[in-house]
Subunit: 125 residues, 2 copies
Amino acid sequence: MQNYLKNVKFDENGLIPAIIHDLKGNVLMLGYMNDESLKKTIETGRVHFWSRSRKKLWLKGESSGHFQEVKEIFLDCDGDTLLIQINQNVASCHEGYYSCFWRKLKNENWEISEKKIFDPQKVYK
Amino acid sequence: MQNYLKNVKFDENGLIPAIIHDLKGNVLMLGYMNDESLKKTIETGRVHFWSRSRKKLWLKGESSGHFQEVKEIFLDCDGDTLLIQINQNVASCHEGYYSCFWRKLKNENWEISEKKIFDPQKVYK
């Protein structure tokens, strides 16, 4: 077993949430990792998640080319959340926004607070 | 039902993860909210979580005074993660660090990468 795994607490499904953060301080997304995707992330320097919907290992950017290059990996005090600092190629959101957090609460509604930077129909064919 | 709840997807336990982020771009912690804690967070302007270990509503800072004052609330593209921008009073981590992410991966080990800014034994009596 990898030494770093001793401190990592996976949940009852074998997963741990990973917050993706760029070097400028933007939070881009939250994904889930199992031990294999964490290992792949560390070994390759590119973020790999476990896709809960497709139930498979998921190299972020595998279809779009929008990879996330790992800079630093942090673990929280309880050992049950990862924070991964990255350089984002193009954008993280499959809907065309840089960050997945493009909806902001305003007067009890979620308003779009970012501009799209790519056209999903052209990227995901 | 509050209008904003229509877009929020709680998991099978009625919870949604909430990333806590300060205005300087630091990620401080990840907590979990149910509909009541999200409502309290919005109404009071102070972050409230659902404590999974104590199984109760948890006003962050209730014992330490280290409250988190809400500035903005974002929802991700899938509707299953919140991002909350805050001003942190003193520190977020119960172990005395500003951020809960004070361990960084280096050569397969987690190394302490921050300095404590308060003494937990003095704050939690």
